[in-house]
C-alpha cells in the first residue's frame, strides 16, 4: 500500500487524534480513573466514558457493517489470529499468549493508577502543559525502544519454543 491511500490513513489518524484529544481535554476523560473513581468514591462520571466507548463501538461497527463498510472478520467470533499482541512474526500458542497478555493488562492498569491516568489521559495532560505528562511520554518513547530491543527477542524465543 503506497501513495495517496497510505497518506489518507495517516491523515485520518491525525484528525481522529485531534478530535478525541480536544474532547478528552474538555471532558477529563480517563478510562483508568473512571474505574478507580467508581471503586473508591462511587463517582460514575468518568466510568460513563468507558461504557460510552463500548456503546459507540457496538453501534458504529453494526452500522458500518450494515452500510457496506469493510470490517475484517466482523461476523466471525474473534479468533486467536486477531489478537492485539500478535505482531508480524510473533505467533505463540494460546496457552502462552493468554497469561502473557493477562499479566500485561493487569500491570498496565496497576501502574496507570499510580500514574493517575491511562495512556490517553497522559497524552492529554502533556498537551495541557503538565510536566509529569510530558516526562511520562518521554519514558513511554524510550520504553518502546527497550521493548523492541530487549523484550521482543525473548518473545520470539517463545514463538520458536511454542508455535501455534
Amino acid at each position: 500500500m503506497t501513495g495517496i491511500f497510505a497518506w489518507k490513513i495517516g491523515l485520518a489518524t491525525m484528525v481522529i487524534g485531534m478530535i478525541v484529544g480536544y474532547l478528552g481535554q474538555r471532558s477529563r476523560f480517563c478510562t483508568i480513573s473512571g474505574i478507580r473513581d467508581f471503586f473508591l468514591v462511587k463517582d460514575s462520571y468518568r466510568l460513563k466514558g468507558l461504557i460510552g466507548i463500548v456503546i459507540g463501538g457496538v453501534i458504529g461497527f453494526a452500522l458500518v457493517n450494515k452500510l457496506g463498510g469493510t470490517l475484517s472478520s466482523f461476523t466471525k467470533p474473534g479468533g486467536w489470529q486477531f489478537m492485539p499482541m500478535l505482531k508480524d512474526g510473533l505467533n505463540v500458542t494460546p496457552s502462552i499468549l493468554i497469561p502473557l497478555s493477562a499479566v500485561g493488562a493487569f500491570f498496565m492498569a496497576y501502574f496507570s493508577v499510580m500514574a493517575e491516568g491511562c495512556p490517553f489521559r497522559q497524552h492529554v495532560m502533556a498537551g495541557e502543559g503538565r510536566l509529569s505528562g510530558i516526562i511520562y511520554i518521554t519514558g513511554l518513547v524510550l520504553g518502546v525502544v527497550f521493548f523492541d530491543v530487549v523484550i521482543v527477542p525473548y518473545l520470539q524465543l517463545l514463538t520458536l519454543r511454542f508455535p501455534t
Binding site: 474538555r26 478510562t31 460510552g52 461497527f61 475484517s72 492485539p84 493508577v113 492529554v124 511520562y136 525502544v145
Partner: protein
C-alpha cells in the same frame, strides 16, 4: 398620545456546540471514540489488525518504531497497515488537547499529578512495556470488546482487576500511615 410600538430588534442567539464540562461529556467522548474507531476502520481501511482506530499504547509504539526504522534502518515490528505511513493518533491527542487548553485559557506549564519526575518517567516506561505485552490500551480493549472479541472482554476484566488491586493497595497504605 399614542405610544410608539418599540420592539427591540433582538436576533435569536446562534446555536454553537458546547464543549463545557457537563454531566455526560465523558459519555459523549466515549461514544464519539467508539463511532470514530468504527468509521476509520470501515471506510478508511485502517485494518488489519481489527479495532485499531484509537490506541494509546500500540499507536505511539508504531510511530516510534516507524521513525526508528526510517532513521536507523532497523526492522522493529509495526502493524502492517502502518508500515508505509506513520500513525499520527498520539500526535493528534497532544495537538487536540493543546488547542482545547489554549482556547479555554487552561494551558499552563505546571507540575502534573505525579510530583516526582523520575517516578513519572519510570511509570511511562513500565506502562508501555506491560501494555505492549497485551498490545493495546484500555480504550482499544473496550473497542475490541465492542467488536465482539471475547478475549478482549477478558482482558478488560484484567484491567478492572488491576485497578481494584491498586486501589486496595493505596487504601492499605493510607490506613498504615494514619
Amino acid at each position: 398620545m399614542e405610544q410608539a410600538n418599540i420592539t427591540p430588534n433582538v436576533k435569536p442567539p446562534r446555536w454553537k456546540p458546547s464543549f463545557r464540562l457537563s454531566g455526560n461529556m465523558a459519555l459523549i467522548t466515549g461514544i464519539t471514540m467508539g463511532l470514530l474507531a468504527a468509521v476509520v476502520q470501515g471506510y478508511f481501511g485502517l485494518q488489519p489488525p481489527a479495532g485499531d482506530g484509537i490506541c494509546g499504547i500500540s499507536h505511539p509504539a508504531n510511530l516510534v518504531n516507524w521513525l526508528v526504522n526510517n532513521i536507523f534502518g532497523t526492522k522493529f515490528t509495526i502493524h502492517s497497515i502502518f508500515v508505509t505511513v506513520p500513525v499520527l493518533t498520539s500526535v493528534g491527542f497532544i495537538i487536540g488537547s493543546f488547542i482545547a487548553a489554549v482556547k479555554n485559557k487552561e494551558f499552563k506549564l505546571r507540575r502534573g499529578p505525579v510530583r516526582d519526575n523520575v517516578l513519572a518517567f519510570i511509570l511511562g516506561f513500565l506502562i508501555i512495556n506491560f501494555g505492549l505485552l497485551w498490545g493495546s490500551c484500555p480504550i482499544r480493549t473496550a473497542i475490541l470488546s465492542s467488536y465482539g472479541m471475547f478475549f478482549a472482554i477478558l482482558m478488560l476484566g484484567m484491567i478492572v482487576l488491576g485497578v481494584v488491586v491498586a486501589c486496595l493497595y493505596i487504601k492499605w497504605k493510607v490506613r498504615r500511615a494514619q
